[in-house]
Symmetry: C2
Subunit: 360 residues, 2 copies
């Protein structure tokens, strides 16, 4: 069976093992005689699936006591609204570390509801570096401070050792590196992530929230965007995206079989180092991100002109290396190498890049 080398930034490649399990169970989930797509969300089978998925997520990310897991719809993007609706409510001011497109959109949504205070504005360095955030002065009177741990478009990361020191809640969009590198979860009050990168497929966003924060949700906001309502209904206020949660469950079990987050991070670092090393030593490809904040999930690179980027993309696509084109807002190339992109897949890409550099 032909399988492309898939470098999509999301939705992205899934492990063959996970697809195989989904295929085998497609007509019959847990001996019910029904597909997982067909079961009532109020059934004991579905409730057990959700509970198990919550426990797997807590275990895989080492989430301490006192946090809840919510499965929500609308993607991480809807959280850009949901976070301020629930939490930008006391002083109506939030601090932001502005590191790229995703924080830009989050800031835009927050501004509809309060004040967005930029502690760092990455636009000034074209998002090519991120400062030492441990030294940054966080507001005392903000309702929270907001970061995006990995910037898929810009190819940068706020590393686990570079979190701001804050007395106010730290909130993170972790969509593109959750379960890809290990953060100390106790530093965060709220984390959210769309599942379609490291955690499975589109359609569900995971929200991990400190219980004390849940109590702050106002009554008058839309019910499907209310953390307290979602918590009280155990993520089943209305019909949840059952199939997406089912795939998340499979992905978490796969991650466990792979050795868990520490082992996955180790391999992810190997994969990224292989690419960056080759790029840095190449005369054709270039990455101009400050090395201390280079992403191990999204490796961006470019050839000397947009024409040459295009030609390389065409060559790669013809050889079955898919979705290497950079985001339309920045151009260039991008290899998204989330957990399910194997070492072998990245090796194959380096070989392709070498071959292209030699023969063009």
């Amino acid at each position: 069976m032909y399988r492309a080398y898939n470098f999509s930034a999301g939705p992205s490649v899934l492990p063959d093992e996970v697809l195989e399990e989904i295929k085998n169970e497609l007509f019959d989930f847990n001996n019910t005689g029904m597909s997982v797509m067909e079961i009532s969300h109020r059934s004991k089978q579905c409730i057990a699936l959700f509970n198990e998925t919550e426990e797997l997520l807590k275990k895989s990310l080492n989430i301490p006591q006192g946090y809840s897991v919510l499965f929500m719809q609308g993607g991480a993007r809807q959280q850009f609204t949901t976070v301020p609706l629930n939490l930008l409510t006391e002083n109506k001011k939030a601090d932001f570390i502005h590191t790229g497109s995703w924080t830009k959109y989050a800031i835009k949504e927050a501004k509809k509801l309060g004040q967005a205070n930029l502690l760092f504005n990455g636009e000034e360095c074209k998002f090519k570096s991120i400062p030492d955030l441990k030294k940054i002065k966080v507001s005392d009177d903000a309702d929270y401070i907001y970061i995006c741990t990995n910037n898929t478009i810009e190819g940068t990361t706020i590393k686990p050792g570079n979190l701001p020191q804050a007395n106010i809640p730290l909130i993170a969009d972790m969509s593109s590196n959750i379960l890809g590198e290990e953060y100390d979860m106790s530093k965060f009050s709220l984390i959210f992530a769309g599942a379609q990168k490291n955690l499975g497929i589109a359609g569900v966003a995971v929200v991990i929230i400190k219980n004390e924060l849940i109590e702050k949700s106002p009554d008058n906001i839309p019910e499907t965007l209310n953390y307290k309502t979602m918590k009280d209904s155990e993520s089943m206020l209305n019909t949840p995206p059952v199939f997406s949660v089912y795939v998340l469950n499979k992905m978490l079990k796969w991650a466990e079989r792979m050795g868990g987050i520490k082992q996955i991070e180790k391999i992810n670092k190997q994969k990224a180092a292989m690419l960056y090393d080759y790029i840095d030593n190449s005369k054709l490809y270039n990455n101009d991100i400050e090395p201390s904040c280079r992403s191990i999930m999204n490796v961006i690179f470019s050839l000397p002109s947009e024409e040459e980027n295009k030609a390389f993309d065409k060559y790669a696509t013809e050889k079955g290396f898919m979705f290497l084109k950079g985001h339309r807002s920045v151009g260039g190339m991008r290899a998204s190498i989330y957990n399910a992109a194997s070492l072998k897949q990245v090796e194959a890409l380096v070989e392709l890049m070498k071959e292209y550099e030699l023969n063009r």
Copy 2:
């Protein structure tokens, strides 16, 4: 292969043919060497899938010119909020025909943003009947009038011939009978439906909206809930629930092969008549809904006591007739017989009910 008889109110049974197609294509969507779950939503394959699905939906429902189709997240439930956020904006008053639990929740959300004016309050008849809506006086100064065409919990329907006559936009929650019986689409300004009943699986809600209404969306509402933003981005503001749209596409093609909406409605009426006839002539089972508004999608019935309902449900479950228990808010029994529930499946249920009545 064992397949249960699935009467779930949603998520609900899918046709074997559709599951078979999904299974066969699981590793390879349209010769891409990738699963449909793995492809970028910005890829030409995904955009083609969305465009085709939109066209199929327009064709299958006979939607006239001048309407747009949006694929949104959060289920029909999130539309309870989304509709007033976008449209309860001029006179901040909306008319409601209150026919059950789903309109109750829709009214609650609308009240957070304006005035909800009940033209009919079904609570007074315990939702057991729906009046002649053609004769009801609709407000001239309301921003819209809102109905739910089929009430899954109460087992009632606002029939295609019983729509209110209004000079203001008519908005309908059609989640549980869309594509199950034919309405004149030109009467509506906006229709929405969660897909997990007649249209596939949970995770996507379909919104069919008159283009002139789209222009009314205010700028300051959450972007993922903004009809104009969703239209401008062709339902891809952010990563859409690709797999749910893919299943919707398969379901629409299946419905076409079944002969389209007219033929489907004919079979649905046969299925429902078979059940109601048996119930009405039975000494054990009862349905006390005013016959003119009985639902052909959700047939509710009850035995003489909750104990007997329980015993019947246990008996049915053991024989592989699943999810016949009525909604927890009303008790009793309920057979949801959406498009994918075959005539054979309903015949089997009638046989089971007879057998139980004879032998208990």
